[in-house]
Each structure stands twice: as C-alpha cells, then as structure tokens.
C-alpha cells in the first residue's frame, strides 16, 4: 500500500505521470514520453576517485549503469565505501542497482556520488541497503548532474533491531530529478535520520521524497530537509511517515524549511504523518519563505554588501543540514561541496 511505483526505463508505460499521487509534483511522463535508447557501454575511463576520494576506502563504481567490478557488498567491521554512479551519456538512458548490507555490529560509511556529465541523459539508480542488528550506516549522497538530465534515484533501506542509519542528501537538481528513500523500521529500536538539502537555480527541479514505515516499536526517525530555489527552479519535498499498529514508542520528527529567492521559484512540500498506534510522538514542521529583510539590513548596516549578506544567510541556512553529518571527514567534504555550489 505504501510502496512507491516501480520504474523500468525500458518500459515507458512504467513512467509515472502527475496523476500518480506520489509523483504529482514530478511528472516523469511529461519529460520522458518514450523509453530512451540504451546508453553505450563503450568503456569510459574512470578518472580520479570522485568527490570523496580523500576519505579512501573501497569503491563500487557504475558507469552508464554498468558495474566496473562488484555491485554487491557485505560490510563487516568498520568500512568506508565510495559508491559512484557515473553518467557520461548524450540523450540515452541507463539503470543500475547496488546491493549493500551492513552485517550485525558493522560500521559502514557509505559515500555516494552521482557524477553526471554529457547531456540529456536519463539515469535510474537503485540502492538496496540492509542495516542489520546493531549496525551503523552513515550515507552521504552528493548529486551533481547537467541541467538537462533526468534522473531517478531510489533507495530501499531496511533497518533491523537497534540499527542506526544516518542519511544526508545534497543536490543541485537537474531537468527532473527525483531522489527517493523508502525506509523500513523492521525491528525494535532502530534510530534513523534522513536529512537533505537542495540548492536549485535556473530551471532545475529536485524532488526529495521519503517514505518511512515504522512497523516495529521504539523506532526513532528524525528528518531535516532544507532548500533554496532561485530563478524558476522548483523544489519538491514529500515526507511520509507511517506508524503501524503496534509500533508503540515511536518518536518521529520531520522538518522541511525552504527559501524562495526570486519571484518565480516554486516549492511544493507535502509532509504526511499516518499514525495507527497510540503511544507515539510525532511532529512535523514546514516553512517556506524568503530571506529575512530585517536581518539583511542589519548585516548591510555593519558594512556587508547586500549580495554578500544574502550569500552568507543562504549558506548559514543550508549548512545546518551539513552540520548534522556525524562523520568529520565526510562533513567537511560535504560542506565544501555545497558552499562551492551556492
């Protein structure tokens, strides 16, 4: 009932239109009427180690949907994995699926990058992730794609008893870009954080959608998403939290805050809490606004020129999301990545 529709790039009839409720702000069919021709498999040399190169660890790399090496990992102990989805295509489409699990007690730092170049490609990337009993996974996702690319990223995450999962997605959008996370609190006492930040300019579109299903007791979910749109860009946040019967002791909090800079940007926000259990704490907060003019004047009065003051306020607004990344090295890379793109 709560599952999001499946997409198959080879089958245009699987592309949801806005008539599908979960896709109403991101009409995939409108921008993609036919199945794209498959992207070439011609070996594209992989240069460098991606934005997280300095943090080392192992790499799992997909180029135009094809795995360069393994596409499956079972993490044990303490591990760092750089998961790289590289797109280098012109007008073609490709899909990839990565399967990762963190074994009981493992600590996995999952550094995921979507590195797009070329133009007008269609990418469909999937991640299946299991966080076993007592395991801890930090997933940091940086998404950078051309303005005319279309991409759908879908992660299915299952967290078992006492598992800890921390996710932060940072993106600058694309022509139509959807980043979905479906998360299942599968057993008691999972601790989940789902954060995101989007900074969109031009005609870019980014859709951060999450569905969190609490089927077990004592689960924690904390979500903070922030966004800034300029020009005619459009940001979408859809956050659904379901607390099933019996999932007592659930504590779920969701926040989304966005700024519209300029007259023609658009934000669509849809927070949903669906609660069937009695003994739960759930809250959500959502704000959309502009920069505080009084604060701007105050800064200018102290000598900071208007443009610089605006930039400082925007950065401070978004960086709160980055500050929540629990891993020092990953946080610093994410901070630099984001501030370079503002």
């Amino acid at each position: 009932m709560n599952a999001l529709p499946l997409i198959d790039l080879k089958d245009a009839s699987s592309f949801p239109s806005r008539r599908v409720e979960a896709w109403k702000y991101s009409d995939l069919r409108k921008v993609l009427r036919e199945a794209p021709a498959p992207s070439p498999s011609a070996a594209v040399p992989v240069v460098g180690g991606g934005p997280f190169e300095a943090l080392g660890g192992e790499a799992m790399v997909f180029v135009n949907g094809r795995a360069v090496g393994v596409d499956t990992l079972m993490a044990a102990g303490t591990q760092t994995l750089r998961l790289r989805f590289i797109s280098r295509a012109e007008g073609t489409g490709h899909a990839a699926t990565a399967r990762i699990s963190a074994r009981a007690g493992a600590k996995l730092l999952l550094l995921e990058t979507h590195e797009g170049s070329g133009s007008a490609y269609v990418a469909h990337n999937r991640l299946e992730l299991d966080v076993a009993r007592g395991a801890e996974v930090i997933r940091v996702v940086l998404v950078e794609e051309p303005a005319d690319a279309i991409s759908v990223t879908q992660a299915e995450v299952r967290v078992e008893a006492g598992g800890v999962y921390r996710q932060t997605v940072l993106t600058t959008g694309a022509k139509l870009q959807r980043i979905e996370t479906q998360l299942l609190h599968f057993a008691q006492g999972a601790d989940v954080r789902l954060d995101g930040a989007y900074a969109l300019a031009g005609e870019r579109h980014a859709d951060l959608t999450t569905v969190v299903d609490h089927v077990a007791a004592d689960g924690l979910t904390s979500q903070m998403t922030k966004g800034v749109v300029r020009d005619t860009a459009r940001g979408v946040f859809q956050g659904k939290i379901i607390v099933e019967r019996g999932a007592d002791g659930t504590d779920a909090r969701m926040q989304h805050h966005a700024l519209i800079l300029g007259e023609r940007g658009e934000i669509d926000a849809k927070p949903e809490l669906i609660i069937y259990a009695d003994d739960v704490q759930c809250a959500h907060g959502n704000t959309v606004g502009n920069l505080d003019e009084s604060a701007l004047f105050y800064m200018q009065q102290r000598g900071i020129p208007a443009e610089e003051a605006r930039a400082l306020l925007v950065e401070a607004f978004l960086i709160e999301v980055v500050d929540r990344i629990a891993h020092d090295g990953a946080r610093e890379v994410a901070r630099t990545w984001l501030t370079d793109r503002l």
């Binding site: 505080d292 003019e293 009084s294 604060a295 004047f297 105050y298 800064m299 200018q300 009065q301 102290r302 000598g303 900071i304 020129p305 208007a306 610089e308 003051a309 400082l312 306020l313 950065e315 401070a316 607004f317 960086i319 709160e320």
Partner: protein
C-alpha cells in the same frame, strides 16, 4: 561633522520626519529625546539607509559625503553605525565570523588591507574581555538565544571593533538592568573621542546619566522643536513631553 538639513522621510505613504534640521560637530554627543511616535527610530533608519525609509526632501551630509546617495553598506564603510533597539538574530552565522566579515568588507570598501584571522582573534579577545563578555558566546550564532543585555553588549563589541565615526544609539537602554546599563554605557563612553560623533536616541533621561550629552534636542512630530544643554533632559524628565507635542501639533 553631521549636517542634516530640512530632512523629510516617509515610510510607505506616511510622512514621519517633516523638516528635521540638526548639526552634530565632530567629537560631540547629542541626545535626541522625544515622545513615542515622534520619529526617533525613523531618524536612525533614515541615516543608515534602511529600505522603505525614503527621504523625500532635504539633505544629509557626513564628513562632506552625501549620505542619502549611498547604500547601507557604503554608509557603514564611511563610519556610520546604528546600534539597534532590538538587534537582529542571524542564525547560522557565528558572531565572530559576522564581525570579521563586516570589518573586512568595510576595509575593502575603503581600500585598506584586510585583517588576518589571528590578528582579528587577538582584537576580539581584548575587546570582549573589556566588556566582560564570555568569549564562547562569540562562537555562537550572532544574537541567537542571547538575552537583551547580551545583545546590547554584542552591539557595543561591534562598535569597539568596527570603530565607526558616527554612532547612532537607538534606545540602547531598553531592556537593560542597571548593571548591564552601566557596562554598556562604559563601553560607549570609552569610544568617545574628538573624531567621533554620537547621536543618542532615547525616550528616558536615565541613559543620559551614564552617557553625558553635550547637547539635547527634542524631537516631536517629525522635527526638532527645542534644543539645549544637558539640563534640558532633566527638565523633560520632570515636565514630560506634553508641551512640545502640543506646540508641534
């Protein structure tokens, strides 16, 4: 010196200042007193260039520059500092980062060399300890969650570091208890100098016991209706503003 000549300022369509004329020579402290709604805060905003406070007539010159033709940051770089009645909270920007950004922006605008991080840190340590401020407070986002007294102290700290030449204090005493008032006033008094002019805007005489003005002006219905020495403040405290309001109306 500051020369304000026949200044008319409207907010929206509403005229607030209606022909205000005032000179503040270098090195002097002038108090602006007046009833609520007289236009005291509007004067501070108009001098510092707040959007929405439109000068429809008159002129303001500061050290020979036409202030009204400059944007707020340009005015700040020329030494104009407005201490806010209610200092704004700037979430996400640590106080120290804020002040250093402001100082270096001003220096750039004046063609001076920027201050390095270590040199700035030294300046901040000295200035904050003079104001008996907890240094850790400077690492927190500016004014976020600060008490009224802490916010005012932060204003004085900014003054001490930015070294403005025209200080406009808008109801600096509001929300301060006696101890905080003393510390803030000492901070302001420490900045008195022959090159610096100050405009102290206040509703009550109390603040002027601590910051002694050279001249006192009464602002009512958008104009200066009386001027005198420090004794005028005491007279106002005893008699109230009724006489001036009636005359101005």
């Amino acid at each position: 010196m500051l020369k304000i000549n026949n200044l008319h300022v409207s907010v929206g369509d509403k005229p607030i200042l209606k022909g205000l004329t005032l000179d503040v020579p270098a090195g002097e402290v002038h108090a602006i007193m007046g009833p609520n709604g007289a236009g005291k805060s509007t004067l501070g905003y108009a001098l510092s260039g707040r959007p929405g406070y439109e000068a429809t007539e008159g002129a303001v010159s500061w050290k020979g520059d036409d202030l009204l033709g400059l944007d707020p940051a340009e005015r700040a770089a020329r030494g104009v500092f407005l201490s806010f009645q209610y200092p704004l909270e700037i979430p996400g920007v640590p106080a120290m980062t804020f002040i250093r950004t402001a100082l270096n922006a001003q220096k750039r605008a004046r063609g001076e060399e920027e201050v390095s991080a270590p040199a700035f840190l030294k300046m901040v340590r000295a200035a904050s300890s003079a104001l008996k401020m907890d240094f850790d407070m400077l690492k927190r986002p500016l004014n976020v969650g600060f008490s009224g007294g802490e916010k005012k102290r932060m204003e004085i700290l900014q003054m001490a570091l930015l070294e403005p030449s025209l200080l406009i204090l808008d109801e600096t005493d509001s929300g301060l208890d006696i101890d905080a008032l003393r510390i803030v006033s000492e901070g302001v008094n420490a900045l008195r100098s022959p090159e610096r002019s100050m405009l102290v805007i206040t509703h009550y005489q109390r603040l002027l016991d601590y910051i002694k003005p050279d001249r006192v002006h009464v602002l009512a219905a958008g104009r200066i209706v009386a001027s005198g020495g420090p004794e005028l403040a005491h007279q106002l405290e005893a008699e109230g503003y009724d006489r001036y309001v009636a005359e101005a109306a």
